[in-house]
Symmetry: C2
Subunit: 326 residues, 2 copies
């Protein structure tokens, strides 16, 4: 009920009467009053204006289960939602939830991670109440070798959600870094549990630099946050909800063909290196060329000087711009 009250308070041009809420939910005045009070306790400033009703004052960057649910507009992605003020790692949480039987689309969001991890066991700084740390769980019905594609889909969803909610122009650095002005705002760690020919589950962990303003020395040249880029603090909950919305939409398109053929145009439009010179750092040998975009398998097509096209497979190699970081 509280999530719905929040949705109504935002929709209804500012005011919702107590009676309206009673009728809507079929509960007593006291129950409404109690719910409003609980919302106030969790940080919302709600005024009761005589003859007009309840009114939500200002916009605080509140992240909790009610706040996220009040903005969620999906069919399945993020519909089973767990919020933790602090947790070890949302990837671990969702793995556990899936092992205990959670459905496709289960989402864990945390205010803080005490053991946040990046790729290959690197740690991922997760300070409290500033950024987004969330993990989506899937139970895909496709072959394990397709799993890396969901990381690209998630990057597209984050890029789209940030652009829509913050009005900042986002790009993607292949395969899955979301960047603004060439600097990284998002890290994605996709993990899978599988047997031969069969995926048990996939978890997609997404960390977005939202209101953080100081970075450790080793990443401060290459990382940024939405707050820094926008010049003001940003609400996290709408980004969570919009990311789920776009993920759901993109993922359903992906499932139709089990490849990226319906998505690669959207992806390539955002590709930061599109038609730019790149250096491919392949353990089997470096080479330079011009990035032309991804193919339907998510491989980066890099054209060599002689015109021939190389397919670059993520995971084995990294690609960087010949000019500048990206």
């Amino acid at each position: 009920m509280k999530a719905e009250i929040l949705t109504l308070l935002r929709e209804k041009d500012g005011y919702v009467s107590g009676q309206e809420l009673c009728n809507r939910f079929g509960v007593s005045r006291t129950a409404v009053w109690k719910a409003i009070n609980q919302l106030k306790e969790s940080g919302y400033e709600i005024e009761a204006v005589p003859n007009k009703g309840y009114h939500l004052v200002g916009q605080q960057d509140i992240l909790n289960k009610n706040e996220i649910e009040s903005r969620m507009n999906t069919t399945w992605a993020g519909r089973e939602l767990y919020y933790f003020d602090s947790t070890g790692s949302t990837n671990l949480d969702v793995k556990r939830l899936l092992e205990e039987g959670a459905k496709e689309g289960v989402l864990a969001v945390a205010g803080e991670q005490t053991q946040g991890r990046g790729r290959r066991g690197r740690s991922w700084q997760s300070p409290p109440d500033t950024n987004i740390y969330m993990t989506l769980g899937l139970r895909p019905d496709f072959q394990p070798d397709l799993a890396p594609m969901v990381t690209l889909i998630d990057a597209m969803a984050v890029a789209e959600a940030v652009e829509e909610t913050c009005g900042l122009k986002t790009q993607i650095k292949w395969p899955n870094d979301v960047v603004i002005g060439g600097k990284k705002i998002c890290g994605i760690l996709t993990e899978m549990s599988a047997e031969t020919g069969y995926i048990h589950y996939v978890v997609i962990g997404t960390g977005i630099n939202v209101n953080i303003t100081k970075f450790p020395d080793e990443i401060k040249e290459t990382a940024t946050s939405l707050c820094i880029e926008k010049g003001e603090s940003v609400l996290r909950a709408p980004i969570v909800a919009k990311t789920m919305e776009h993920f759901e939409r993109y993922y359903e398109r992906f499932i139709q063909t089990k490849d990226l053929s319906l998505l690669m145009e959207d992806y390539n439009r955002r590709l930061v290196n599109k038609d730019a010179r790149v250096k491919v750092l392949d353990p089997k040998g470096e080479f330079e060329g011009t990035a032309r975009g991804i193919d339907k398998k998510g491989q980066l097509l890099v054209q060599r000087q002689d015109g021939s096209m190389e397919e670059v497979y993520a995971g084995e190699v990294s690609v960087r711009g010949v000019y500048g970081y990206v």
Copy 2:
């Protein structure tokens, strides 16, 4: 020390004196006497013959940590060994051990599994003290899409170990069923935890029908056991140890090239369908042809009537003989 005493009792033409054991391990007569007594308590029949020494009588099918270690002849596979009289599932045990930091080669063996599982969540009957239930843990340094190949390698290791210890002719039904006379004696469940481009770990669970003599109705036409085929009860520990030995050898060859090019000849020699008519049950369309063997990626090459060669990828399809079960 107890594992080594067992090894010595088997090697030394039948007799080992107490003094020899004292010298060997640098312990007192009392310590040796205690160790011998503990071995007797775990089921070994050990005689003390005056002027000759200790003597191991008969061969009991005993499975425990000492027994397996006394027969283990590997560098890393199975060297970190856990034995459980009864456990839920050895795959779950080894996943947990790897998550807690166990090294490549960690092996769990159980006398009984209470929640044994086969592929795609099917249950795997694991009655006590008759069969082999074991799981090997690896931390591979190759791309996740290569992981299915270790299942083929394990099938080869089991086939070789059974042939060597029992003198029974084994074959492999692609991709990884070990069969005797066309009937299955072994199931393998390989599971992986991975992120994009990077494997956290792989566990290979192997169930071998050793001394079981009755099967449930639904598999009694297609399954057999070593005891049934040999006409007498079979020792389990030597099969465990020999499987590790052959796995280690094959796996090291695999690692050299990161494909099956050095193993496919051995594999194809055992392939039950080699040069026989098969029906390929591909969801995209069935077809018949002649199985020619695997390629270096582990795909089955099936030649169509018109001479063209199809590569059949495990996981998506199954293959069965046109004549008979296999």
